[in-house]
């Protein structure tokens, strides 16, 4: 079970959270002005990277607030969590700690 660092509550177990998919996909200001293809991309197309991705999380069984997180889709390591509306942090500035067994 993942341990997720809610920006408002601190570290809490995964069962308290709900993942809302990729972050930083802005809903168009005027949806009616968007063409069919672009609207289809907005609705359905996601980058699905192998590596660090920004995603939305809801601390539903906690403070009830949405926030963003950088998670490595390979290791499940949370690189950073940050408040909704803040820019995506520089991933190099906030790397997940993975010690070695050397």
């Amino acid at each position: 079970m993942l341990l997720i660092d809610c920006p408002y509550c601190g570290k809490r177990p995964e069962v308290e959270f709900h993942c809302g998919g990729e972050a930083h996909i802005a809903r168009p200001e005027t949806p009616t002005a968007v063409g069919d293809a672009d609207w289809g991309s907005f609705l359905y197309y996601r980058t699905n990277p192998k590596g660090v991705q920004a995603e939305r999380w809801l601390h539903g069984h906690g403070c009830g607030r949405w926030f963003n997180a950088l998670r490595d889709t390979v290791s499940d390591a949370f690189v950073a969590t940050y408040e909704m509306g803040k820019p995506r942090p520089d991933r190099d500035a906030a790397t997940a700690s993975t010690p070695s067994n050397a």
Partner: protein, 994 residues
């Protein structure tokens, strides 16, 4: 049984505390500190079970949790009645105590005489891949022959047939350092990690006491003191530290993400005096800053013909039984080894008075100092020898050995008489937890083993589990992993071994049973066959032969299987791959995993304030989401059909009372509440006056219907929103999502008020009459209080939000009162209603009534791919609002394409035939299969008010096809139905829409 093989002194047993357990109905004696395995050996009994496939006699192989053979059914509390027995307990880890009732498994009629042993003779049938090859055909044989017969003949113990009567508990814990394993490495790590007092340390070990392999040792010294004194000192030091928790009998079985380690602690199985009610086991979920794995290593058996005969054991286990439990595993011991460590066993056995000789696969030149030590002790060592086969059946009686020539030829055979064999093929580091943590394994050729490579989490391995075997180095390694330093002076260990996969033999390899996996009865022959049939990856060989797939997860067998496959393919061992280790490390009871979450605590049942009344009045309940709701209220002699017919008629002729408290309710409050509602619903809200209600439709951004419900405007800045019963949590989440992430500028608060209000629906022509006497400050007349309005006031003197709404088409009110008053108000209204023919009705009648008038249920008519227009509800979609969630999607090409599935009614040709919900609809039942499905039935009922059955369905371009005949699947074939409008009943008198 007495204890003829108990040594006169020594061992970590308490001779002042004798005890007895019942073994196959006989009395088995021992002392506190014994395991069932050590008691069996003390009594001279090695035969401890029959094997999985071949029903071969099996003995005790090991002294720990890696035991594959001696599996017992244990009734832990026979004196407390049924429900305390479980199968497949390893005799080597079942701590003996008074009152245990244990039985061997897999035999009939008895352990000594087992008819299933004929499988051993039939073994050509049970070859590798047997299950895949045999169970293919014919199909009908599966139920009649394969399943009942083969399951009975081949299988491990019998599952319990009654509910587990024990209690289980759980605990979450956090620490800075978790040390798994309390052998010399783990103790040293815990000492180091806890030294400065700043770190919280948990030290967990699966054994009954800390010490690990040092508990088997009577000769080693550490810093000049006997090893057991060093252990006692370390434990005392740790015990005295406030920041250390020591957990014996605690197995770390799962290593998950973010250093989440799951452990099971055995609390009461070992206690004869355990009070009733004390939990049997406790599940620990530990979150550790760092994890130190000091999990030790497993000894490898040697693979030769009949290597599974009782009396043949792992060499270190023989030493453990001799020293820790003070029992002699026999009188005449042959140590067969390719590993130096087994010489310690030979020396200890000799000192204990056994007659001992050694057969070493290695040449004398390849041996270390152990060779001279054995010679000095007067032990005969046959180096450069192999074992051709073991003799004996229910107990080993001898070994046929022979020298191996320079060219690998088998020399002259000698038979060594013996009643016990100690074998060692070297050591395999226990990397299970490391592998579970997703760390990368590395193959070390020198060690002939996979060892931890790169860690994936904050973890370090120490000691034998990473291939460090010398005692001095083990302690130093542990201390280093714990963040400290120790440089003890300990007795040098005999280390090093020569890997050997299958002992050389001149016997016909295709006829010989030399076991690789003891628990799953997999022989070297099976593995050779698998490779010959083309299985080359170890993961495939594993599944085909089932090697390593038993409850012991191949702790003793994996490396032999891997090495054998690599040898046959002539590839380096890592090229064959290694198996991925998965939780649990050892079997875990379901009880421990679920803890208290069973019976009524398994899934919480939500009950409404009116539930006690419903229960007292004979309601039949059904689950709806987590709620339990009254489905119908049968009178004596009524079935559901009759009850629902009566309830639905009463609503249309008199009045019905219905508990609608489960409706989701959300209060939307704030200066921007109306704007928020405009954006989240398809309808327009700005013009809805205070006191007005509106049926609201909610879409997802993709344009599909998400939820619906009546919304009341209580004030300029306040909406009382209702949702479907099951939809409340997701609607709340959906609203919060948009509010927080897309429109944080809107000044709106959302509050779930589902449980704050009880909702009593009064529906039917007499509804007003029932309500009238109890309302003083609200004018209930049609003119003052029309359909789709809301008023606040008092009912029965209780504050109330009174809705004039209907989900039946009849005159209707929904009385919202604070939950605490719900039952009292219900009872008052029900009492008054007696004058007016009031009838309580349940969810089934509610569904029929709404279908009669064509109201949809989101989640029944819709499935996440349905648009408002598909439901015929495009009138609820605002054309003027510039935007709302889902609006843009409604004009995507596929959303407006012709031919979409649309909601219609279906009337069966035979009026009393009720279609199945979910049944498929086709145009032509004679068309070839696969047929073209043109739709499906979404709702279907017998309607007493309509005098016939009614159904709703989603049909391709259905609204254009009204009047046409279609065919609907039934269990008996197709039936005819006519497409109709989805409204089936005309409400008479004062209707909802009057």
């Amino acid at each position: 049984m007495s204890q003829p093989f108990r040594r006169p002194s020594g061992g970590r047993i308490d001779r002042s505390r004798p005890l007895a357990v019942t073994f196959n109905g006989k009395r088995l004696e021992g002392f506190a500190g014994d395991t069932v395995a050590s008691m069996l050996i003390a009594s001279g009994q090695h035969l401890a079970g029959r094997s999985f496939k071949y029903h071969r006699p099996r003995g005790i192989l090991s002294h720990g949790s890696d035991e594959p053979s001696a599996l017992l059914s244990v009734d832990w509390r026979a004196d407390r009645g049924p429900g305390y027995r479980d199968p497949n307990n390893r005799a080597s880890v079942v701590e003996a105590r008074d009152g245990l009732v244990v039985n061997t498994q897999n035999h009939w009629p008895s352990l000594e005489t087992d008819i299933g042993a004929v499988n051993d003779l039939l073994s050509p049938v049970f070859v590798a891949g047997f299950y895949y090859k045999t169970f293919m055909w014919p199909r009908k044989f599966w139920d009649r022959v394969y399943e009942p017969v083969i399951r009975k003949a081949a299988g491990l113990g019998e599952a319990p047939d009654v509910k587990d009567a024990d209690r289980y508990s759980n605990r979450h814990a956090h620490c800075d350092v978790l040390v798994v394993g309390a052998g010399p490495a783990g103790l040293a790590a815990a000492l180091a990690a806890s030294a400065d007092g700043t770190k919280r340390v948990i030290l967990a070990d699966e054994g009954s006491e800390p010490g690990g392999a040092l508990l088997n040792d009577t000769t080693a010294t550490i810093d000049g003191r006997p090893a057991k004194e060093w252990v006692a000192g370390a434990v005392a030091t740790l015990d005295a530290r406030e920041n250390v928790v020591i957990l014996p009998r605690t197995t770390a079985f799962g290593y998950y993400n973010h250093n989440h380690v799951c452990m099971v602690e055995r609390i009461s199985d070992h206690r004869a005096d355990a009070p009733e009610g004390l939990a049997r086991e406790r599940l620990w979920q530990v979150r550790a800053g760092e994890v130190v794995l000091a999990t030790g290593s497993h000894e490898r058996p040697l693979v030769f013909e009949n290597n599974d005969r009782p009396g043949i054991m792992l060499a270190e286990s023989v030493r453990a039984y001799l020293n820790r439990w003070a029992v002699l595993p026999g009188n005449e011991l042959v140590v067969v080894t390719s590993s130096a460590s087994a010489y310690r066993t030979a020396l200890d056995a000799k000192a204990a008075g056994m007659r001992v000789s050694i057969v070493d696969i290695r040449l004398e030149a390849d041996c270390g100092p152990e060779f001279a030590a054995a010679k000095d002790a007067g032990i005969t060592v046959r180096s450069g020898h192999t074992v051709i086969r073991a003799l004996g059946k229910k107990r080993v009686t001898g070994l046929v050995v022979s020298p191996i020539g320079r060219d690998g030829t088998i020399g002259e055979k000698t038979t060594l008489a013996c009643d016990c064999v100690a074998m060692s093929g070297g050591w395999t580091p226990s990397v299970h937890l490391f592998s579970q943590s997703r760390g990368k394994l590395r193959f070390d050729v020198e060690l002939d083993a996979f060892v931890p490579g790169t860690s994936a989490q904050a973890e370090r391995s120490a000691g034998a589990c990473r291939g460090v075997y010398d005692l001095t180095e083990v302690i130093a390694d542990g201390a280093k992993a714990g963040g400290g330093e120790l440089a003890p002076e300990a007795t040098a260990s005999f280390t090093g071994f020569q890997p050997v996969r299958v002992l050389p033999t001149d016997a016909d390899a295709s006829k010989v049973k030399a076991f690789v996996d003891f628990q799953n009865d997999v022989t070297a022959k099976d593995i050779r066959l698998a490779v010959r049939e083309g299985f080359e990856s170890i993961e495939h060989v594993k599944r085909y032969t089932t090697t390593g797939m038993a409850t012991d997860q191949g702790k003793t067998s994996n490396m032999n299987a891997l090495g054998l496959v690599a040898g046959i393919l002539d590839r380096p061992l890592p090229a064959v791959g290694t198996t991925t280790f998965r939780p649990p490390y050892t079997p875990v009871s379901f009880g421990a995993l679920i803890g208290p979450a069973r019976d009524e605590l398994f899934d919480p049942v939500r009950k409404t304030p009116i539930d006690p009344w419903a229960e007292a009045n004979g309601a039949v309940f059904e689950p709806v989401a987590l709620w339990r709701r009254a489905k119908y209220f049968p009178r004596v002699g009524e079935d559901m059909h009759a009850a629902v017919a009566r309830e639905t008629r009463a609503v249309r002729t008199h009045v019905g009372i219905f508990d609608a408290s489960t409706l989701g309710k959300i209060e939307v409050i704030g200066p921007d509440a109306a704007e928020f509602m405009n954006r989240i619903y398809t309808n327009a809200w700005t013009k809805l006056k205070t006191g007005g209600c509106r049926y609201g439709l909610m879409l997802r951004e993709d344009g599909f219907v998400y939820d619906d419900g009546v919304v009341a405007r209580l004030a300029e800045d306040r909406f009382h929103v209702t949702t479907t019963t099951g939809g409340a949590p997701r609607v709340m989440r959906h609203m919060e999502d948009y509010l927080q992430t897309e429109w944080p500028d809107l000044d709106v608060f959302l509050t779930s008020i589902t449980e704050q209000w009880a909702v009593i629906a009064l529906q039917g022509p007499n509804a007003r009459k029932v309500l009238d006497p109890f309302v003083t400050d609200i004018d209930l007349t049609e003119a003052a209080f029309p359909h789709m309005t809301v008023k606040t006031g008092y009912v029965c003197g209780v504050p109330c939000r009174l809705f004039r709404v209907s989900f039946t088409g009849e005159l209707g009110f929904e009385v919202n009162v604070p939950a605490d008053y719900g039952e009292a108000v219900w009872k008052t209204l029900y009492e008054e209603g007696q004058k007016h023919g009031i009838t309580p009705y349940g969810t089934e009648a509610m569904h029929v009534l709404r279908a009669e008038v064509g109201y949809v249920v989101v989640g029944q008519e819709t499935d996440g791919t349905v648009t408002p227009d598909d439901l015929g509800l495009s009138g609820l979609v605002s054309k003027v609002k510039p935007d709302f969630v889902g609006k843009r999607s409604l004009t995507r090409p596929d959303m407006i394409a012709a031919g979409r599935r649309q909601l219609v009614g279906l009337l069966t040709k035979t009026p009393d035939e009720v279609l199945d919900e979910g049944a498929q609809v086709v145009d032509d039942p004679a068309q070839p299969i696969p047929m073209k499905m043109i739709g499906h039935v979404t709702s279907s009922y017998a309607s007493s008010n309509c005098g016939r059955s009614i159904a709703m369905a989603m049909i391709d371009a259905g609204r254009e096809r009204i009047g046409e005949t279609v065919f609907v699947t039934t269990p008996a074939g197709f039936t005819e139905a006519v497409i109709s409008n989805a409204v089936f009943y005309d409400v008479k008198g004062e209707t909802a829409d009057a």
